[in-house]
Amino acid sequence: MRMPSLPMPLPFKVTVTQVQYLLQETVKGLQRGSWMNWAAVSTVTVLLFLLGLSLQTNWQINSFLTQAGSQLEISVYLKPSVSGATLQQQIQQFPDVASVSLVPRDRAWRELLTELGTTDLQGATDALGQNPLVDELKIQAKQADQVPKIAQMLTNFTEVDHVSYLNEVMQNLGQLNRGIGKMGWAVIGLLTLTALAVINTTIRLIVVARHQEIEVMQLVGATTTWIYLPFLLQGILFGLIGGGVALTFMATARHFMQQLLQQQPVFLQVLAKSLQLSPTQLWVLPLTILGFGSFIGLTGSFLAVRRFILR
């Protein structure tokens, strides 16, 4: 009599068993990690929260700049002999220009005198010999960051005497955005290294805690993939859990801020609109956070078991 050999199971059944086994082992590993899991997940959460916040702030400032930029005007003062109507058509053709409106010198003069409290228009004109003002064109750009470029182009016209626009606010906001971006990336870089180190250590500790099982597994013919894949899945799970928690925090913070701004004066309520994410951003943000979280988790755990896998 001979010991019967194992019959060949059906491929589908094997796949189901394998997936089931890998998931069970992953959960088992998490149970073994105990408090180290908490350390890994919380570090990843902070990292992904900051990453998300940085992305979101960047998008929101850009959105604000765009909204504000569309309301900013470039004022073009023409030379006295030039009629604004002729130039208006030309400028309207610029691809970055949203609209051009003409303020004729007569209307401007009338408005100025009205503002000054003078009602005798003719008298004032006669006193100065003529209307001292020139035709003015008010130009709105499609994007805020195009305002300086359009202004520069306008100064090249011989008919133009002077160009002015409110560029200081835009520049400051732009600088702020870039500053936040640089600082954000520096902090994210440091936190990424920290998260990698924590995940690496956590997975290593779990490997050490399970060394007896691993030794037996190796002796009974379990493949390297079979032994170490659960550890990689565990790393990915750290990233996904951290990402999920970070996204929840961000959504809560966004909701809270919006509620707060809606109770503020009207001019501040404009900001609430900037805090809203576009439909594209609403799925790009979670995808980025969860994708980066998984990547960090996988890298951290791979670093922990690479010497076993690659030998």
Binding site: M1, M3, Q18, E213, V220
Partner: protein, 258 residues
């Protein structure tokens, strides 16, 4: 100088100054060898221990005791066979495959064809006996119903069918070793290596373990047992090879104590 086969029935080839077995000698018959060591040398600089030019063949279905003083290299010899150590020189063939050339998944596949029993059992303390035994099949991706189908007869074979739900700490040393044997054979290996399986057991339990190993051998499994238990060797009534000073020599069982 030709090789001298002292006991033809055991297939052990005593080492000589020249390679005793040529590749051509093995062609056509390699598959019938469960283990074939050819000119195997292994040394550890730190301890000064060494195995020198071992030539050793075990046929399918054989039962063999390997004895020798502590530190003679019995465990190292076993490790060379199941691929936990690599020889400095020579070939270690198991079922025709050179273990020294195998690594990664290919080594894993080879290990699925052999079972190993250790002196310290290597059972996972927080798992039940059933879980410990089933672990072999689980870690090879065998479906649960198939595991269950294999588990009961295996436990019955080693007399532990009523201890399936016990933890190792609730069992005696002999029972733990029998559980370890169950784990080694549940995957239906063709070769069973038992490294000092009775080292921690009293005489009664040792004889029980021996009885199981003999039963497995009668089912067609090749069994190699390292031991320095003279009583076990005497009761085993099987060929004995002695490992001493890095050399393996076949001896009559009665001379095992010398």
């Amino acid at each position: 100088m030709t090789n001298r086969i002292l006991f033809p029935e055991t297939n052990i080839v005593v080492p000589s100054s020249r390679p005793p077995v040529k590749e051509s000698d093995l062609q056509g018959s390699a598959a019938s060898y469960a283990i074939h060591l050819r000119d195997v040398s292994k040394s550890y600089r730190e301890t000064g221990f060494s195995l020198r030019n071992l030539n050793f063949v075990v046929k399918q279905g054989d039962f063999l005791f390997i004895t020798g003083p502590s530190g003679a290299g019995k465990s190292t010899l076993m490790k060379l066979v199941y691929g936990a150590e690599r020889p400095d020189r020579g070939e270690v063939r198991v079922g025709g495959q050179n273990v020294a050339n195998l690594s990664g998944n290919r080594l894993s596949m080879l290990r699925r064809r052999l079972g190993v029993v250790f002196q310290d059992y290597k059972l996972i303390a927080r798992w039940t006996i059933a879980e410990n035994v089933a672990f072999v099949l689980r870690s090879q991706g065998v479906p649960p119903d198939e595991i269950q189908r294999r588990l009961t007869p295996t436990l019955k074979l080693v007399g532990l069918q009523n201890k399936a739900d016990c933890f190792p700490s609730q069992l005696s040393g002999g029972e733990q070793q029998r559980a370890s044997i169950a784990r080694a054979i549940v995957g239906s290996p063709r070769l069973l290596l038992a490294d000092e399986p009775t080292g921690n057991l009293d005489q009664d339990n040792a004889l029980q373990v021996l009885s199981i190993l003999k039963k497995l051998n009668s089912l067609g499994i090749t069994v190699v047992v390292t031991t320095h238990d003279l009583h076990l060797i005497k009761m085993g009534q099987a060929p004995v090879a002695k490992l001493q000073n890095g050399q393996l020599k076949l001896i009559p069982p009665a001379d095992a104590s010398t």
